[in-house]
Each structure stands twice: as structure tokens, then as C-alpha cells.
């Protein structure tokens, strides 16, 4: 707090010093309207300017001419200002400028298009190459698949052909019937815990391993 006061005092001193140097009393330059007439001017009667008839006529003529001439000059200047915005030549010039600017813009645009076209060509060529390789790989894969499938089928056919040697056909049906009749198979058997096959109607009788042929009749 004390410090603050000190600072304030210091500034106050400084201000006082500057005041003494710079401050000047400024009084109004003109008497305000609401103040009364100065006592010294109270009874003063201003003298009317005495202008002779010739002089007033001349002054009237001069001022009239001045006003008329100034008006026409002002009008001319206004016209020139207006034509500087809307004159035919000015408009033409603006149009030419715009045309040049348009051509410049189109040039820049064309350059950009050309650059982009080169990039696009490159990219499309790369993509085409990749696609071609993909298709080629797929084709090869398909070919291999086909080959494998064919091999499987071939195997099946081969096996089937081998089997077909034992097929019963119209030619060897009699032989097959004969053979079947000759060798009757009895499927009615039992199994004990040791896995021995017990054939026949007597289960207690251990099988001898020899098959006993029973007559159908």
C-alpha cells in the first residue's frame, strides 16, 4: 500500500511538472450566442455598404455569369465521370480485359487437364496390367482345377471299368446263376466275445472254421 502511494505521488509530481510546461489557458475564440451584447457595442449602428447602381448591376451580372458557367462546367465534369464508367470505349476495354483474362484462365485449365491426363493414363495402364495378371492367374488356377477334376474322374472311370469285368450281363447270367446256386452263403451266424464266428443252429458248438454247406431244400 505504501509503495502504491509512493508511486502515485511520484506520478503526481511528474504530471504537475509537465502541466507547468505544457498547459496553456484556452479561452473561447468567439462570444457565445446567449451572452448579451457587449456594453461597448451596445449603441453601435453598423454602416450600410453603399453600392452604386452601376456597381450592383455589374456585380449581379458577374455573379450570374459565374454561376451559369460553373454549373455548365460541373455538368461537363459529371458527364465525364459518368462516361468513365459507362462509356463505349471503357466498356470495350473492360470486355477486352475480361476476354484476355478468360483466355489466360483457359490456358491454365488446359495445362492442368494435360497434366492430369498423363497421370490418369499412367494409372489406368497400371490398373490394366494388374487386372490382366489377375485374370491370367485365375485362368491358370481354373485350368489346374479342371485338370485335377479330370484326374479324379479318370480314376473313378478306371475303377468302374475294373469292376465292370465282374458285372452280371445277359451273356453270363446263366453262369452267374449257376455259380450262385453252387455257392450258397449262410449269413446267419453269431459272434462270441473272442470274435469267433459261430455258424449253425447250435451256438455251443465251436466252429471249426470250415463252412458247412446247407442245402436250401
Amino acid at each position: 500500500m505504501q509503495n502504491l502511494c509512493k508511486v502515485e505521488l511520484l506520478y503526481g509530481k511528474l504530471l504537475c511538472k509537465t502541466k507547468a510546461i505544457n498547459q496553456q489557458p484556452v479561452r473561447y475564440t468567439r462570444k457565445p450566442r446567449w451572452l448579451p451584447k457587449a456594453p461597448t457595442k451596445m449603441f453601435r449602428v453598423p454602416i450600410r455598404p453603399q453600392i452604386s447602381a452601376d456597381e450592383s448591376k455589374e456585380l449581379f451580372r458577374l455573379f450570374t455569369n459565374y454561376r451559369t458557367t460553373m454549373k455548365s462546367i460541373q455538368k461537363q465534369l459529371e458527364y465525364e465521370l459518368e462516361t468513365s464508367y459507362t462509356g463505349q470505349e471503357v466498356l470495350q476495354e473492360i470486355a477486352n480485359k475480361e476476354k484476355i483474362l478468360w483466355a489466360k484462365c483457359m490456358d491454365i485449365n488446359d495445362n492442368w487437364n494435360a497434366e492430369v491426363a498423363i497421370e490418369r493414363e499412367q494409372r489406368l495402364a497400371n490398373e490394366r496390367e494388374v487386372q490382366r495378371e489377375d485374370i491370367l492367374a485365375q485362368l491358370i488356377e481354373k485350368e489346374e482345377d479342371k485338370k485335377k477334376k479330370l484326374e479324379v474322374i479318370e480314376e473313378i472311370i478306371r475303377l468302374e471299368k475294373e469292376k465292370s469285368k465282374t458285372y452280371i450281363t445277359a451273356e453270363n447270367i446263366d453262369e452267374a446263376i449257376e455259380k450262385a446256386l453252387d455257392s450258397v452263403v449262410d449269413h446267419k451266424y453269431a459272434l462270441d466275445l473272442a470274435g469267433n464266428i459261430l455258424k449253425g443252429n447250435e451256438p455251443n458248438e465251436p466252429s471249426t472254421g470250415t463252412m458247412r454247406v446247407q442245402s436250401i431244400n
Partner: protein, 176 residues
């Protein structure tokens, strides 16, 4: 007894319109009235009163009055009657005596209207001309002088004439 005037001089000397017309029979309808400030013109200027309508007097001020009148100004008879109201309080009016009325009408009949012919165009100002030459614009043009279209303006423009900036130019153009 000689009168000594004190204070500022004034243009107005005479009576207000009501002071004149209020004391006349039928409020002076049909009589001629003129203003003292019109004495500066050579041509006759006066009013012929057509109708009078007084208004209320406010305090101690001069009474205003609505007067419709035919106006003759600088030897020119106006087609439409005019209304005098806002300037009717001015102590500037003067009644024309009945025996002088015919004199005023004669003056009007015999008066010669003033003529004033002014040039219709003027040369370009020198600096403006230089500027136009600098900007490659047409510097041979002439500026049209347009006359103010007032009711009392007698000036007429002569298109064939061209004014210049010579020192003695204006005096030659002036004709009355």
C-alpha cells in the same frame, strides 16, 4: 420639425397591407396597391386587389392578411392571380390613388419589356482543355450554358453565340 432617424436603416417604409385595405370601403377590392421596394425597377409593378381576408392579430404584431391579387411585375401581367399572405405584414405597401390608376395602366401599356440575350455556349476552361488533351479526349467541344428557368427571368439564350474568357466579353453580351 425635422425628423431624426435613430438606429439601423431599413428598406421598408410605408404601411402594412391591412393598414391600407382595412380602412377602405369594401376592403379595397379593385384598388391598386404597390410596394415601395418595387420602385427600384423602371417598369411598373403593382397589384390589383381581388379579394381580402383578414386573419387574427397575434399580440402586438402587425396583422397579416390574405389577399388575392392580380400581379404586374416589371411590366409583365401574370396569368394567374397570386396570394399575398406571408409578406403582408411588411410595412412596405402603398396605395395608388384612384386618379393615378389610369396613369399606371397607361405605363403598363406603353412599357417596353426588357430583353436580355445571352450566349448559349461557352468555350472550355483552359485547364480543363489541357486535361482533356492529355487524356486524348475531344477537346473541341463547347459547354452548354443553361439559363435558370424562373418566372421573372427574362434572359434568353442565343445558341449561335459562343462566349469566351476574354476580359471584355461579358460587357458586349449584355444588352437591355
Amino acid at each position: 420639425m425635422s425628423v431624426k432617424l435613430i438606429g439601423r436603416t431599413t428598406n421598408l417604409y410605408g404601411k402594412t397591407l391591412w393598414e391600407i385595405l382595412g380602412n377602405l370601403r369594401t376592403t379595397g377590392v379593385g384598388r391598386l396597391v404597390t410596394r415601395n421596394s418595387y420602385d427600384r425597377y423602371e417598369e411598373p409593378c403593382f397589384f390589383k386587389v381581388l379579394s381580402v381576408e383578414p386573419t387574427a392579430q397575434i399580440e402586438e404584431k402587425a396583422r397579416k392578411v390574405i389577399v388575392h391579387a392580380e400581379k404586374i411585375f416589371r411590366g409583365k401581367h401574370y396569368k394567374e392571380p397570386v396570394e399575398i399572405y406571408s409578406v403582408s405584414y411588411k410595412p412596405d405597401y402603398r396605395l395608388i390613388p384612384k386618379d393615378e390608376e389610369q396613369l399606371w395602366w397607361d405605363r403598363l401599356a406603353n412599357c417596353k419589356l426588357q430583353e436580355k440575350i445571352v450566349p448559349g455556349s461557352i468555350e472550355l476552361p483552359p485547364l480543363m482543355k489541357l486535361v482533356l488533351e492529355r487524356d486524348n479526349k475531344d477537346s473541341n467541344i463547347k459547354l452548354q450554358l443553361k439559363i435558370r428557368g424562373g418566372r421573372d427571368n427574362v434572359a434568353k439564350s442565343d445558341i449561335t453565340k459562343t462566349a469566351s474568357y476574354g476580359p471584355s466579353f461579358f460587357k458586349n453580351q449584355q444588352s437591355s
